[in-house]
């Protein structure tokens, strides 16, 4: 039984985990860096301890042991998919809220993940044969970090150096691999839960609206996918999870051909995802609670037929970036934060008036999640919610989202990953 949960993360996801852990009666402890000392997660956790860095395994394990925690929730990003971190936790007698180290190592190595996916019978994206454009990806990657599109041979070296530096900074591993770049595809992913022997899916999400491989808008379910393809996609994800004897919450990402709806396995994210709330909104299932129950060694209480998907949900990521100025990061102090509120609106944010957005970390300041009986209702609600939103002190992507939500292509649904090309200048 987990009683004292250490959270090795920051920002909105740290608050999100605190919320569920506290509902389950756990004491929450957070490791916070100097820059985050006065952040809301540090103030709202039951206990806060200083750590040097969110990427330091030693600092996190020392802090968790010092706090007499019995489990660590790694959130997303940082050390969340780091097999060495999970192992170090186990060595220190701490439950890691996530898959076992071997699974993390396998899925963290994107080349190995491809091999396992093929073994489980999933189709994969072809490699570099076939020429340019190519897509450089980080072997230790995830979240789009270290990903670069390369159109010409002469740009390859420079792009690889920059991608490698980004991968090194984000994951501590600068190794890269190359895939053929598929232009007209949709990014569709399937949420799975596994307890080590059986696995279930919680439906799919569409995350095709991206800029430089960073997701901006996500929704559940993916609009306009024929039911037979949707079913095939979901069972492929479950097949992979079961093949891996997967334990925990995970996401199987696919590239779906926008015309034929054929799909290719991209990668599996062995952690909670930023966009998990849209799945929670359509299933009514608290994914962090499921993670904690599984980490506690309990068998899945959910069976596939118990999971009913209802309505439609959309998430807009509000980043501290000047979207009119090439998405230039906009760190600083937030003077006013009026987030939308009301039924069928959920806001996951660690930013209130007076809070600092430090330049050290990523630019996400909050997520607005709306739901509706159908997609049209959700889109309309998102429009209203975005109109109500006021953030002062830093630039945000709110204005961009207001344009997306009224764009006829988005309103119609089912756009591919090229949606954003040229959008900001339009």
């Amino acid at each position: 039984m987990i009683r004292r949960l250490f959270i090795a993360n920051r920002g909105e996801i740290a608050l999100r985990v605190i919320h569920t852990a506290r509902r389950l009666g756990m004491i929450t402890i957070i490791g916070a860096t100097e820059a985050d000392r006065d952040s809301l997660p540090a103030l709202r956790a039951d206990e806060a301890l200083p750590v040097a860095s969110y990427l330091s395994i030693d600092a996190m394990i020392d802090a968790a042991r010092g706090a007499r925690a019995d489990a660590i929730h790694p959130g997303y990003g940082f050390l969340s998919e780091n097999a060495a971190f999970a192992s170090a936790g186990a060595d220190a007698g701490l439950i890691f809220v996530g898959p076992d180290p071997a699974t993390l190592a396998t899925m963290g190595d994107k080349l190995e993940a491809r091999r396992i996916a093929v073994e489980a019978g999933l189709p994969v994206v072809p490699g570099r044969e076939g020429g340019y454009p190519l897509l450089i990806k980080a072997v230790a990657g995830g979240g789009g970090r270290g990903m670069k599109r390369v159109d010409r041979e002469e740009d390859l070296d420079a792009a690889m150096a920059m991608a490698s530096a980004e991968a090194e900074a984000a994951f501590g591993d600068g190794r890269l691999y190359i895939e053929r770049f598929i232009a007209s595809g949709r990014h569709v992913e399937v949420q799975v839960l596994g307890d080590g022997s059986s696995a279930v899916h919680l439906g799919d999400r569409d995350c095709s609206i991206q800029r430089r491989f960073q997701k901006l808008v996500e929704e559940a379910p993916a609009p306009g996918i024929p039911e037979d393809k949707r079913e095939a996609l979901r069972s492929a994800a479950v097949r992979l999870a079961e093949h891996l004897n997967y334990r925990g919450a995970g996401t199987v990402e696919f590239l779906v051909d926008a015309e034929t709806f054929d799909f290719y396995f991209l990668e599996m994210n062995a952690r909670i995802q930023v966009e998990h709330p849209v799945t929670e909104a359509v299933t009514g299932i608290d994914l962090v609670e499921q993670q904690l129950l599984i980490a506690d060694g309990q068998p899945l209480a959910l069976h596939q037929e118990m999971i009913a998907l209802e309505g439609h949900a959309i998430e807009a990521r509000i980043n501290a970036e000047d979207w009119r100025c090439d998405f230039r990061p906009s760190p600083g102090v937030v003077h006013r934060a009026a987030w939308p509120a009301g039924p069928d609106i959920r806001v996951d944010s660690h930013i209130a008036a007076g809070c600092v957005v430090p330049p050290l970390y990523d630019s996400l300041i909050g997520k607005i999640i709306v739901s509706g009986a159908d997609r049209a209702e959700a889109v309309a609600r998102l429009g209203d919610a975005l109109d109500a939103l006021v953030i002062e002190g830093v630039e945000t992507t709110a204005g961009l989202h207001r344009r997306i939500v009224r764009d006829p292509r988005f309103v119609a649904g089912g756009v591919d990953t090229r949606y954003f090309e040229g959008f900001a200048d339009a």
Binding site: D46, G342, L360
Partner: protein
């Protein structure tokens, strides 16, 4: 640090649902620890939180020393505030050393801001006169990183 969770998101949604049926446009809940302001905004509602302990945040990053650029030298400043790196990755040789010849488009450093690597270009042709910031130091947007002798 505090153990109590004052109001859950569900509580806030419920408050809005109640207000939405009535004539009030605004509700403020003020305690010693927080203020929550729920207000009608256009067709919808907003929630504004203020936390007593989240006031007066400290300076974000310590500024790198500002040095006057004289003697016909050209300043190299970062495109953004962030962390200054002299090499593309740990262990790799630096982009430039003092005495190196550069062109306007030469990459002389990287600034990492919010996990993105932004190249720093020399901006002018010449010779690197001095590198004024230590590797991995946080810098402001107007910090003087290097000087170039044209």
């Amino acid at each position: 640090m505090s153990a109590d969770l004052p109001l859950t998101p569900e509580d806030v949604a419920e408050i809005v649902a109640i207000l939405d049926g009535g004539a009030y446009d605004r509700l403020e809940v003020r305690t010693t620890r927080f203020t929550l302001r729920v207000a009608r905004e256009g067709g919808g509602w907003t929630q504004e939180w203020e936390w007593s302990a989240s006031e007066a945040p400290a300076a974000i990053a310590e500024a790198a020393p500002r040095v006057e650029v004289g003697d016909g030298l050209i300043a190299v400043r970062p495109p953004l505030p962030g962390t200054f790196y002299r090499a593309p990755q740990p262990g790799a040789p630096p982009f430039v050393e003092a005495g190196d010849t550069v062109g306007p488009d030469s990459v002389v450093a990287i600034i990492e801001t919010m996990k993105l690597m932004n190249p720093v270009h020399a901006g002018a042709a010449g010779t690197i006169e001095a590198i004024l910031v230590d590797n991995a130091a946080p810098v402001d947007g107007d910090a003087l990183l290097m000087t170039i002798r044209p």
